[in-house]
């Protein structure tokens, strides 16, 4: 079981989240400014927060003990609206950035699954927005993180490809057995992927609806 | 010279502007038409060149400068003392450019010390700068201008060239120069 119990302040926003979740896919929805991205950034360690955080049996944050694991050690798999691909590296180099050795088979499998195989030797400027977003997704998963933080990861994808990407993500999450927090406004994302659904308003979770059954019914 | 100019200014109700610079640089400026009335140099070459190139009205010898050697605060006259390894750096005005430096080189070459001392030399743009280096303790010794003939190792003739036929300039020159002022030959146009 993973546990989030954090508070933080970002300008007008006062984020206050308390939730437990299993190694499942959690879809987070809510209006602009509700604090969805801020929540993910706090989990990544990119924003300071007070409280407690444990993921995969590891404590990431315990502000009472004055402890906060830096992002370098949390190593979450992230997809943000800005893909942050380094322009001087090939796509393949971008994906394996920060890892020690290249796992060729694993890379090939992911590249295949998320349809970036023909892009591997290209440079970022040659890619469309949608392609760059898929590369960012592969980069997030390739390093086998213990938490996936996906901020509208399919926003730039055409509907047909979106469906295939969802299937890929679902099966990988099942294999890796890690929690994935995914911000999305897409009803289909919620139906097909969500094991849980959080709705945020003004920095708080309104309700936690177990969506596992509905999701599985839709898939079937 | 500063004091003499101030007295002259009061007496004649004019402004005297003194422009200090190296002989070579001032010579270049005059050749390029700088509006100077009088040129004073511790040098024979540039004044005679000016006369030859018809830039001067008349040339005078107006006095002497005294070249001496200082080790720290001490003025010495025995140049072989400079060979002492305790003396690492000796300031000298650039002998290719500055008259005091040129004069120092002549004396040292004459005494056979030039080559031995050469590795110790630090070159200043002029003798005053060399003196500054010694006074500030930046170098151990230096060839500097002295106030009197005592302890001098060489004398340098100061020459003046009247660049424009201006009455006041002549008066100023007469005022500045010692009685022994001599007009040098080959000076008129």
């Amino acid at each position: 079981m993973n546990h989030i119990q954090i508070t933080t302040r970002m300008g007008m926003l006062e984020l206050q989240v308390d939730a437990r979740f299993s190694n499942a896919i959690i879809i987070i929805s809510g209006e602009n400014g509700a604090g969805k991205t801020t929540l993910l950034r706090c989990l990544a360690g990119l924003e300071q927060a007070e409280g407690h955080l444990s993921v995969g049996g590891e404590i990431w944050l315990d502000s009472i003990a004055g402890f906060s694991l830096p992002p370098q050690q949390r190593r979450p798999g992230c997809v943000w609206s800005d893909t942050a691909l380094l322009p001087w590296l090939s796509i393949e180099k971008n994906i394996v950035l920060g890892t020690d050795s290249v796992e060729t088979e694993w890379l090939a499998e992911l590249a295949d699954m998320f349809e970036v195989k023909p892009l591997l030797q290209r440079k970022p400027y040659m890619l469309s927005t949608g392609e760059a977003q898929r590369v960012a997704l592969v980069r997030a998963i390739y390093k086998r993180p213990s938490l996936l933080l996906l901020d509208e990861p399919f926003s730039a994808q055409a509907p047909a490809i979106r469906r295939r990407l969802r299937l890929g993500l679902k099966s990988l999450q099942g294999r890796l057995q890690i929690p994935a927090l995914m911000v999305s406004h897409d009803v289909e994302d919620a139906c097909m992927l969500a094991d849980q659904h959080w709705h945020m308003r003004q920095g708080r979770l309104l309700h936690e609806i177990a969506q596992a059954k509905t999701g599985q019914e839709m898939l079937a | 010279m500063q004091q003499k100019s101030e007295a002259f200014e009061k007496e004649h109700h004019v402004t005297v502007r003194l422009i200090a610079g190296s002989t070579g640089r001032l010579y270049n400026q005059i050749m390029q038409g700088a509006p100077f009335d009088l040129f004073i140099a511790a040098d024979d070459e540039r004044p005679s060149l000016l006369m030859r190139r018809h830039k001067g009205e008349a040339r005078f010898r107006i006095g002497q400068g005294h070249l001496g050697v200082k080790v720290g605060k001490q003025v010495i006259s025995n140049l072989s003392m400079l060979v002492n390894p305790a003396i690492q750096h000796i300031a000298i005005a650039n002998p290719d450019v500055a008259p005091f430096g040129k004069s120092a080189r002549v004396v040292l070459q004459h005494q056979g010390l030039w080559e031995a001392l050469k590795p110790k030399f630090v070159y200043a743009q002029n003798a005053m700068q060399a003196a500054m280096m010694v006074d500030q303790g930046l170098v151990d010794a230096g060839f500097v201008p002295l106030a009197s003939q005592q302890h001098a190792i060489a004398e340098i003739d100061y020459q003046a060239v009247l660049l424009r036929d201006k009455a006041l300039a002549k008066v100023w020159l007469a005022n500045l120069a010692k009685p022994q002022q001599t007009r040098l030959a080959g000076c008129s146009r």
Binding site: - | S22, G24, A124
Partner: protein, 223 residues
Amino acid sequence: MFEALFISLQLALATTVILLLIALPLAYVLAFKAFPGRTAMEVVVSLPLVLPPTVLGYFVLVMIAPDSVLGGAWQSIFDRSLAFSFSGMVFASVLYSLPFAVQPMQQALRAIPVNWLEMAQTQGMSAKQTLLKVMLPAAKGGVLVAAALSFAHTMGEFGVVLMVGGSIPGETKVASIALFDMVEMQQSDQAWMLALILLAVSFVMLSLVHAINQRGFDVGAGR
């Protein structure tokens, strides 16, 4: 003449190499770290931009004179004077060209998108890895500009080296001083030639700077 030119080139090269090593950490600290005295540090680094070279040269000369702390220490270690030596001149040039090296690097480092640095963090890259694999490649243009400017600025230096070096032929008499003396000695043919060579070196270095800036802009636009 070529001896002086050769010394100028050696001086510019030594100064540039040392400056890159010193200016990079300085630029890094100034670009990213907040600490008391940061502004003071920035002012000190840019001081040589406005200080008359002879003033700086005089300060340095007093600082490295044999009876000073630094000059004395050097003397006891290397058994030779730091003042009026090539090393002393390198020391002075490094100080004099410091802003020309620090400022382009600082700007280039500051221009790195925050997203890239955060990406490096969440990818688990250490500070050293981030520096080598993200920051330096991203700031490459700034580093090259810093090197070219330091080199060109040192080649053209006059007042500082005049004060500190003592224009010793074969050791500290650089091209700009040789040129000055040539003019004083009315050797206009040689002076012309040397001036043209110095002009050409400056022209090439500045063209390089502009080429780098242009290319940096194109990469940014293509992204």
